[in-house]
């Protein structure tokens, strides 16, 4: 009997010891940390993503303040035709004497605008359709998901190209086209999450409490599925910037004289530009690769940082 008590005492002591000195210290840290702090701490572990974030912020600011930074008007003749990079013209001039550096800044502006707006539109459509399909189920779910299947069956680029051929190409039509074609992935993602959430006790509790539908959908379900939507949206952003570039490169996207990263590369289809004037096509290409890659890295780190099952 005595022995048992002793063991119990020892055990308790040990437990107390561990709670007091090791776990407690750690626990305090975690408790005092807000959700956003946790996410940021985890995000910081990805060095490439951190560098990417800095790059995206710098390029984003450069694009935002293009009118202040750009040394010349992007659409006006400023120097010699096809001048090599040098004094006065950081990246040289194009075939009709426009400053490539200024055009690059404005092109980033347009490409980021297209990417962000298209992502916003497709996310809103996808979230709404996914919420309806997942929450209400039944006929609505069947109709929406089959429609999603149909849209996904058409090769994406082909659908975009056909739409671009039907509607007059231009900045806003390209934003709308990309926005209206990109949503199926998000719709499927949201639907899957909503299906899982609907079975949780807190949603059932809301139902029993007789909360209005609007509250359940937008104040309970949506906030709990924001993290995966955010991660998915970064990849949509990267993809729509690539698509804008491809479309504008083919001459079906943003129309000149407005500069976009894609249509700046358009000139490289001519052999002289490709061989003798690399300053006309290499910089916009590199900017696309850097921007898209940085966005992808950020998305990947966010996936890890926002994952509730991730350790640390």
């Amino acid at each position: 009997m005595g022995k048992e008590k002793q063991i119990e005492k020892k055990f308790r002591k040990k437990k107390k010891y561990s709670v007091d000195t090791i776990d407690e210290g750690k626990k305090k840290d975690i408790v005092s940390e807000s959700y956003l702090q946790t996410v940021f701490r985890r995000f910081k572990r990805h060095k490439l993503a951190l560098i990417s974030l800095v790059i995206v912020v710098i390029l984003g600011l450069a694009a935002l303040f293009a009118p202040i930074i750009a040394p010349y008007d992007p659409n006006e003749m400023a120097g010699p035709f096809s001048g090599a990079p040098g004094k006065g013209f950081l990246l040289g001039t194009d075939q009709i004497g426009r400053d490539v550096f200024s055009r690059l800044l404005y092109a980033m502006r347009i490409s980021l605008l297209v990417g962000i707006m298209a992502t916003l539109i497709s996310t809103v459509i996808g979230v709404i359709l996914g919420l309806i399909a997942g929450y209400f189920g039944g006929v609505a779910d069947m109709l929406i998901m089959r429609f999603t299947d149909m849209v996904m069956s058409f090769p994406y680029i082909l659908l975009v190209l056909v739409a671009a051929a039907i509607f007059k190409p231009g900045l806003w039509s390209i934003i709308l086209i990309l926005g209206f074609v990109d949503w199926p992935g998000i719709a499927r993602l949201v639907r899957g999450n909503v299906l899982n959430l609907r079975e949780t006790n807190f949603i059932k509790g809301n139902l029993v409490a007789g909360m209005p539908l609007r509250h359940i959908l937008f104040s309970e379900i949506l906030p709990n599925t924001v993290a995966p939507i955010l991660v998915y949206a970064t990849s949509v952003l990267a993809l729509s910037m690539l698509d804008e570039a491809a479309l504008s490169f083919l001459g079906m996207g943003v129309q000149p004289p407005t500069a976009s990263l894609g249509n700046m590369l358009n000139g490289a289809e001519s052999l002289t530009v490709l061989t003798k004037q690399p300053w006309l096509w290499v910089p916009p290409g590199v900017v696309i690769v850097v921007l898209v890659m940085a966005i992808n890295f950020i998305g990947d780190a966010l996936r890890d940082a926002l994952d509730p099952n991730s350790k640390g």
Binding site: F154, A164, A238, L242, A246, A268, V289
Partner: protein, 315 residues
């Protein structure tokens, strides 16, 4: 099993019908073919006669069924530009595209499968970081920009590879000549696909490596090599099947742009010129064909998936 396959096929039918409706709706949205006829030398009466001849005076849904009926007979309509039957045009351009797509798919798998498995086995090592970073580069570089870089390097600077067409003009080609023309477009298509596939295969293999049966295999002490190559890889087949299924629509899309850059005489080049000249019957024919191919590819993927993984049942 057969019940699952049957159900999967039954679900594909309404999707297929929906695809034809969307296809037809886009064609109607694009404008009436009569507009192409209108001109100063064409009288109103002639346009009216043509309208009746084409059945355009009938209501929308009847036109759709007429079109669908023609479709079932293999008649996709006639090109507005060249007056050739669309099905003939597709047939003659299909070969080069299938060749390009098939080889690219194989090359991308040869790049992605070993890289993804290596990366998963050596998780968080330097090699893993390199592979993952490269895979991000692969999926972030626009195909046309990579094409331009390759053309600059291999055609202009080194003069090793031809930059356009499928065979050298004036010759009848031959196997080696076609291979030479294919290297760059295949490389571009395979790179962009391998980029996302490496990460997909990596995470799938990582998941498999954490399974209980692999812990058991390790605990048996059969050795690392056997654990990975005998037990893990067999199960990694499932995600690889999915990857192939996912790639089909990507390939179709990627081919349009890459064929344009390299003047590859395939479906993509044909579609692009049809888009530029607004040759809607051709565009719609290609859209319909590719949508059906994608649908069938998805169907086969799902069925293969169920064959490889017996735990999957239809919900």
């Amino acid at each position: 099993m057969s019940k699952y396959i049957l159900k999967r096929i039954l679900i594909a039918i309404p999707v297929l019908i929906g695809i034809t409706i969307i296809d037809y709706a886009i064609m109607c949205l694009a404008g009436s073919p009569l507009e192409m006829l209108k001109g100063p030398r064409v009288s109103e009466a002639a346009v009216e006669a043509k309208k009746i001849a084409l059945g355009l005076d009938k209501p929308f849904y009847i036109q759709y069924f007429v079109w669908l009926g023609q479709l079932l007979h293999g008649n996709l309509g006639y090109s507005v530009k060249s007056y050739q039957p669309v099905s003939e045009m597709i047939k003659s351009h299909l070969g080069p595209t299938l060749l390009l797509m098939g080889v690219s798919l194989i090359v991308s798998l040869i790049m992605a499968v070993p890289a993804g498995i290596y990366s998963a086995i050596h998780q968080y090592s330097k090699g893993d970081y390199t592979v993952v970073t490269l895979s991000f580069l692969g999926s972030s570089i626009p195909g046309f920009f990579l094409s331009l870089l390759l053309i600059y390097l291999f055609t202009i600077k080194l003069g090793w590879l031809p930059s356009s067409g499928m065979t050298t003009l004036g010759t009848d080609g031959g196997f080696l000549d076609v291979v030479k023309h294919m290297i760059m477009p295949v490389l571009v298509l395979a790179t962009s696909m391998a980029g996302s596939n490496i990460r997909y295969i990596r995470s799938a293999v990582l998941e498999i490596l954490q399974q209980d049966y692999l812990r058991t295999a390790r605990a048996k002490g059969i050795g690392r090599f056997k654990v990975i190559y005998k037990h893990a890889l067999r199960n990694a087949l499932v995600p690889i099947v999915t990857v192939i299924g996912m790639e089909i629509p990507m390939l179709f899309g990627g081919a349009v742009i890459i064929e344009q850059v390299f003047s590859w005489p395939g479906l993509g080049l044909m579609t692009m010129s049809a888009i530029i000249s607004r040759d809607y019957p051709v565009i719609m024919g290609v859209c319909l064909l590719s949508a059906i191919v994608v649908l069938i590819a998805n169907l086969i993927t799902d069925i293969l998936y169920a064959l490889v993984d017996p735990t999957i049942t239809f919900e």
